[in-house]
């Protein structure tokens, strides 16, 4: 019996101790929370004071020329916005550029028939001579050839010719995609083309009353700067 009572007493003491500990921790937590709130309030007050001081300094200058300053500020902002919009509009012309640290970065945008297609970039170095640093132009466009011919001598011509190549390629590809999409019921299978889209071969049907005539078409685009074929062969198979 004695042992049992001792055990119960020990348990009661343990429980008490645990309760004490828990209470202490809660108190500690409450104190820390209060401290955090106090510090945050202090910081906010100091921040407000700093802001006020800064504004106060500005205010001193502004008070003297108040009517004039807002308008010059507004005019400057309007000018900057206008220039930025102009620069964005330039991108719609097809060839636009931006000066970089080492040279200039050109953006060539392609479009066909009122639809804007992909844009390609050309990062050029200007010193010691004009060189291509990096670009996002597809490999089947003869960039190296054009660069060898025109880059050093006449950069305007280089950009113009390159833009023609890219626009023509984008136009040919767009036309091929549209053909495939809109006439898929009349074309047998898929169009056979190549990376530059300068050779297009496909079969299609023309039906007259009850008979259908299969035709084979071969479009050859001899001029890489043109989106119109130079040679067309239509044969009835």
């Amino acid at each position: 019996v004695f042992a049992h009572l001792e055990m119960l007493e020990a348990r009661a003491r343990e429980a008490d101790m645990k309760e004490e500990e828990a209470k202490q921790q809660e108190e500690k937590l409450a104190r820390l929370k209060a401290r955090v709130q106090q510090l945050t309030r202090q910081r906010d007050e100091l921040q407000a004071k700093v802001d006020l001081q800064q504004k106060g300094q500005l205010g001193k200058e502004g008070v003297t020329s108040d009517p004039a300053q807002p308008s010059t500020q507004a005019v400057l902002e309007w000018k900057i916005k206008r220039v930025k919009d102009m620069l964005q509009v330039f991108c719609l012309t097809g060839i636009s550029g931006k000066l970089t640290e080492q040279g200039v970065c050109f953006c060539i945008s392609t479009a066909y028939d009122g639809t804007y297609l992909d844009s390609y970039y050309l990062d050029l170095l200007t010193k010691p001579e004009v060189r291509i640093l990096r670009h996002s132009i597809p490999t089947f466009i003869p960039l190296e050839q054009l660069a060898k011919k025109y880059l050093q001598t006449d950069i305007r011509r280089f950009l113009s010719v390159l833009s023609n190549h890219l626009n023509a390629y984008a136009a040919r590809r767009y036309q091929a995609d549209q053909l495939q999409e809109h006439f898929s019921d009349q074309i047998e299978g898929t169009l056979q083309t190549n990376s530059l889209c300068n050779l297009l071969v496909f079969n299609y049907y023309v039906s007259n009353k009850s008979k259908t005539f299969p035709f084979n078409v071969r479009l050859l685009y001899g001029d890489l700067c043109s989106s119109i074929p130079t040679e067309v062969t239509v044969s009835c198979t």
Binding site: K98, C105, S109, S136, P138, F140, P142
Partner: protein
């Protein structure tokens, strides 16, 4: 039907994961829809493959059709093979019209003139990729359908992607045939290898994300605004984090990076040490090989600076990988400047 063909079809079907078998057979198009309906795709693969072989027997399949199924499998699971990139140089400046039939004819003729016992199959895909499958034999034995090489070629580009096969000795033959078929001068191996074929294509075709400076209006991106967890928490290093983010974005671009598994740097530089230590006073280059490997190397390099593990900007030796289109480098000292070597910082 030939036993070899039957066994080959059976083994190819066994390779395909069960869920994909139906779609792949449909893509193959050799078995009719009615025949495909008769197959129970819920049974064990062993039985499925046997059933497929039976149906192929009915349709009298030959090695040509079996090879097409193999190409389809490798096209979808191209990441199971290691791809190397080769570059060809063109002869003249005239416009290349690229006639597909002409290309195939020249390739077959050139390869068969050197080695008659080969099986060659072609398959074209919508992105203008031409897949070539070659099964190699020897002058005395028939082609072994399990010893295959794959070539992926995009018309009018100088790049060819070759999956290295077991028989490296046939590589020169393959290269010669490619050079002849594409009207090129010569071919050389670029130091660029990966399991992800699409990533290799992205790198050489310059389709990966590069950050170009321009005034071109960027389309508004949905910025994932993380909900402010607690207004009382202030980022002390916000400016620094912003700076790192901007520099990182300039170097790596904003989009996903091409997937490479490793970058290897072979150092042939002199060991720079305290002269008093007297290490390697024979003035020989210190040969050392550093290899970085990762499931997605470029993404991990991109996250080095934001994670605080490296300073921004990250070393140009690491960031030039997509631009130089190589992941094997030889680094020499400043004295020996050549086109492929680098100056180590």
């Amino acid at each position: 039907m030939d036993e070899v063909v039957a066994e080959y079809i059976r083994r190819t079907v066994l390779k395909i994961p069960r869920d994909e078998i139906r779609t792949m057979l449909q893509q193959w198009g050799f078995l009719s829809e009615a025949q495909l309906q008769t197959i129970n795709f819920c049974q064990i693969k062993e039985n499925i493959s046997q059933h497929v072989v039976q149906l192929c027997e009915e349709n009298a399949a030959r090695i040509k059709q079996a090879a097409v199924l193999d190409i389809i499998y490798n096209h979808i699971y191209s990441n199971k093979r290691l791809w190397s990139v080769y570059q060809m140089n063109k002869t003249g400046e005239e416009t290349d019209f690229f006639d597909l039939t002409d290309f195939k004819k020249k390739f077959k003729r050139r390869l068969r003139s050197a080695l008659t016992n080969v099986t060659i199959n072609f398959r074209e895909y919508e992105d203008n990729a031409i897949w070539i499958r070659i099964a190699w034999g020897t002058p005395y034995t028939k082609p072994n359908q399990y010893k295959t090489s794959y070539v992926v070629y995009h018309s009018q580009t100088p790049y060819v992607f070759i999956s290295v096969s077991v028989l490296k000795s046939n590589l020169p033959l393959l290269c010669q045939a490619l050079v002849a078929a594409s009207n090129s001068h010569d071919i050389r191996e670029m130091e660029l290898r990966s399991h992800s074929l699409n990533s290799l294509k992205d790198i050489v075709f310059k389709r990966y994300s590069q950050n170009f400076q321009s005034y071109y209006p960027k389309p508004l991106q949905e910025t994932n605004v993380a909900p402010e967890s607690d207004l009382r928490i202030i980022q002390e290093n916000k400016n620094e984090k912003e700076r790192i983010k901007i520099i990182n974005s300039e170097v790596f671009g904003d989009g996903p990076q091409p997937k490479l598994e490793f970058a290897q740097y072979k150092l042939e530089t002199m060991f720079k040490s305290d002269p008093q230590m007297n290490v390697l006073d024979r003035k020989e280059p210190f040969r050392c090989l550093v290899k970085f490997s990762s499931p997605h190397l470029l993404e991990s390099l991109k996250s080095l600076a934001p994670a605080g593990i490296a300073d921004a900007p990250v070393s140009p030796l690491l960031t030039c990988i997509p631009h130089k289109a190589r992941n094997y480098f030889k680094i020499k000292d400043k004295k020996y400047v050549s086109s492929i070597s680098f100056v180590s910082p």
